[in-house]
Symmetry: C2
Subunit: 448 residues, 2 copies
């Protein structure tokens, strides 16, 4: 597949470039390792790894365009020799990472970069941004999938995401986490995600009568009609849909469903279900949209809503309750020296790492151990970080999104229920530090 | 300026295309008007209009690429005649809008599109997304500018925004609202925003001693050094910075400042200030970063923090307390008929509109009146919506961001203080509906 991410390396913080210039001036460009991990977030007891493919696309095509270096020259901030260096710069490092769709926990590195210091430093903002965004969205979507208990979920977030690339990320990450489809046509094209969608209120309003609008739509799309029934009065809308649904049934292309987009979803869905059932339309599904997230899905289902599938918009597309991750990218090794940082409340573990996962005999996750990359794996554990890029090239072709999704389908059920409740438990999933990694830390103590 | 937004029209919801196909099949493509406005949001008493330039770029270059129509053909959803129609489609409509940097309020249209129904419908998701994102970020930034009371603010949000588009939008919108600079180099290039930034913790860690790192940086960038002092121990860091600052002063290129990024900002900033002042370094500024938003700025300043400028990251870049707008785009007129929608809690005013603003004699905003576009302006009011695009072309060239920023600088002080407090007042800024617009509404009542 062609690279999908053409992000310029100029999408970086100025301090990455000023640091690089200072490093270069002193010939400080030997190998460094940075760890990417999330700090603890109270409302997110677990994370779903996502965004790796974007990072690998970015690194494989890393190069400053001429207009970018021209801008830097004209800025007057840098010497010509530094800009010449940037012009020739490519990413030649190694990356270890968890597969997309892997569950992970706070403090666990989801990715590590080992590269000449300047390269490893310059890519920091994009790595944090891409892995942070995709992981945040995949995690939010996984919570919705769990709340929906097998009902279908569709991504409707395009209009309210924070930009177009966020919309594409929302479609991809939510499909990865188990959504069935997206309304975003570009995401459908780019990631081979099923696209769905039928009509908005404006469609109904463009006709003199609601029933005319319904009939017109069904005529053009007999195979895939879902009627939006709440433009004027929801129950009236359902009553208008029923005769058409009968006609469609008789003609051999039954109505797929109706959609509710406002009002009391529990009451309206039950009344709509009863009306449809009485009319012999038990197979007509009820879709619901408008302000849903995992909490509201759980709420309406617990109160007996008769909803078959949910359209998920704003609150999922921006992860409204937790709209950012605490993802950070920290230097852990430089010039054969393991390094760490000790600012109050912000401790980083020194050294190149591995995450080892131990399962219960029943197949559930038991505990994770953050260890040294080179240590012998503890018995009965599986290492989660793999070499995914060597000397600037992917070690294997990008897996399809469908395959990543299939992998993730098996992951979430392995997490003990108490760690995946919507309101998180007091206790966190057990993540230990190995003895060997712990032993490394004092040697890397701060220096005055 | 060359178009900056190359967003494909395929970035749309599938239902926009299915509705379009149904409209086309019936020859329903006469002129429609849609209004873009925000519904009421409790924590946002006012909004700062932004994003118009992106919308105009998108509309001026609106065209489906061949690979996009190819995808639609291969989807099997549409008839060939419809896709032929899309291939030839350009945007030929009119747009009325408020200038970027205009204050506006819930229910007021910030933009209206009048175009053949299908065009006006297809562009819906991008319009809501772009105006919503930029407006949300400019509004958040304006709140920070107000809280900072004249102190400098710098956008540091790149790594934590929801994608790269959002990062560029955050840099642009915050500069529009009064920030002084951004760390985002690409935003600096694209929008001619000043870029700043010096060093991260990893820079300090790459040296054996903090003081070596400081000296190395100052040697490379003598004119613009800000030393990050909290990698190991903040007060120790300040003490390491002082001898270097004296040397720099003596050499004629004084240290610009120090930066605190963790810990108790009130206590540390006051202690740092005292140490610097005692050392005769009263001109060395104190920068602070790490988790700031308008609330935390107000808090630390009220407790006497000695901070000269703030780096604004995550919470501003994602507008963390209100991470989305309730922006909607509603059909208000079609085929000489004013239309509206009456779902519970979601009422839309029918008809093409204008927003009239009345000022107090003292130059403060007094009230707004939402009226009909064609009505005579009420006395002593100013109309906020202008024709910005006619038959698919801009009516005037895009204004520079610097000019928009200059305009906005005068706007916020005109809003009475009670409507721009951080914790919003019980009462909302007065927005009335004109008699003429009100008279229009019954005629557009729902039809069964």
């Amino acid at each position: 597949m062609a690279p999908r991410n053409q992000t310029s390396p100029l999408v970086t913080d100025l301090y990455e470039l000023t640091m690089a210039a200072a490093f270069l001036a002193r010939g400080m460009n030997t190998t460094a390792t940075f760890s990417l991990f999330s700090r603890r977030q109270p409302d997110r007891p677990y994370f779903v790894a996502a965004g790796l493919e974007f990072v690998l696309d970015f690194l494989e095509t890393f190069a400053f365009a001429e207009e970018d270096t021209q801008y830097l020259r004209s800025s007057g901030l840098f010497e010509g020799t530094f800009i010449d260096f940037l012009e020739a710069l490519r990413f030649t490092g190694d990356v270890w990472a968890m597969d997309e769709g892997t569950l992970f926990f706070p403090d666990e590195p989801v990715l590590e970069v080992t590269a000449p210091l300047i390269q490893a430093q310059l890519i920091e903002p994009i790595l944090i941004n891409a892995i942070g965004l995709h992981t945040m969205l995949a995690t939010k979507a996984a919570r919705c999938v769990q709340a929906a208990g097998g009902r279908g979920l569709i991504d409707f977030s395009l209009r309210r995401t924070q930009g177009v690339d966020a919309a594409l990320a929302a479609a991809r990450s939510s499909y990865l986490a188990g959504f069935q489809a997206t309304s975003n046509v570009m995401a459908g094209k780019r990631y081979a995600i099923p696209v769905t969608g039928t009509m908005a209120h404006s469609f109904i309003q463009a006709f003199d009568r609601e029933s005319e609008a319904f009939a017109a739509y069904a005529e053009t799309f007999p195979q895939r009609t879902v009627l939006l029934v709440d433009t004027y009065d929801t129950i009236q809308g359902v009553l208008s849909a029923i005769p058409l649904a009968r006609k469609m049934e008789a003609a051999g292309h039954p109505l797929v469903g109706i959609r509710l987009d406002s009002g009391d979803m529990v009451d309206l869905s039950r009344r709509a279900r009863a009306l449809l059932d009485e009319a012999g339309l038990a197979k007509v599904q009820i879709f619901a949209s408008g302000g849903f997230d995992e909490f509201r899905i759980a709420d309406v289902l617990s109160r007996g809503a008769a909803i078959d599938a949910f359209g998920m918009g704003t609150k999922v597309g921006v992860s409204a309750d937790v709209p950012f991750t605490e993802m950070v990218y920290k230097l852990v090794r430089y010039r054969d020296r393991d390094v760490c940082k000790h600012s109050p409340g912000k401790v980083t573990l020194a050294g190149e790492k591995q995450v080892f996962r131990r399962m219960n005999p029943g197949g559930e996750l038991k505990e994770d151990i953050i260890g040294c990359r080179q240590e012998r794996p503890p018995v009965d554990t599986r290492a989660l970080l793999h070499p995914v890029m060597e000397r600037g090239r992917r070690t294997t072709p990008a897996p399809s999104l469908a395959r990543i999704r299939e992998t993730f389908r098996g992951e979430l059920p392995k997490l003990p229920v108490k760690f995946r409740q919507l309101v998180p438990p007091a206790g966190a999933y057990p993540v230990r530090i190995s003895r060997q990694l712990r032993a490394l830390q004092p040697k890397a103590a701060p220096q005055g």
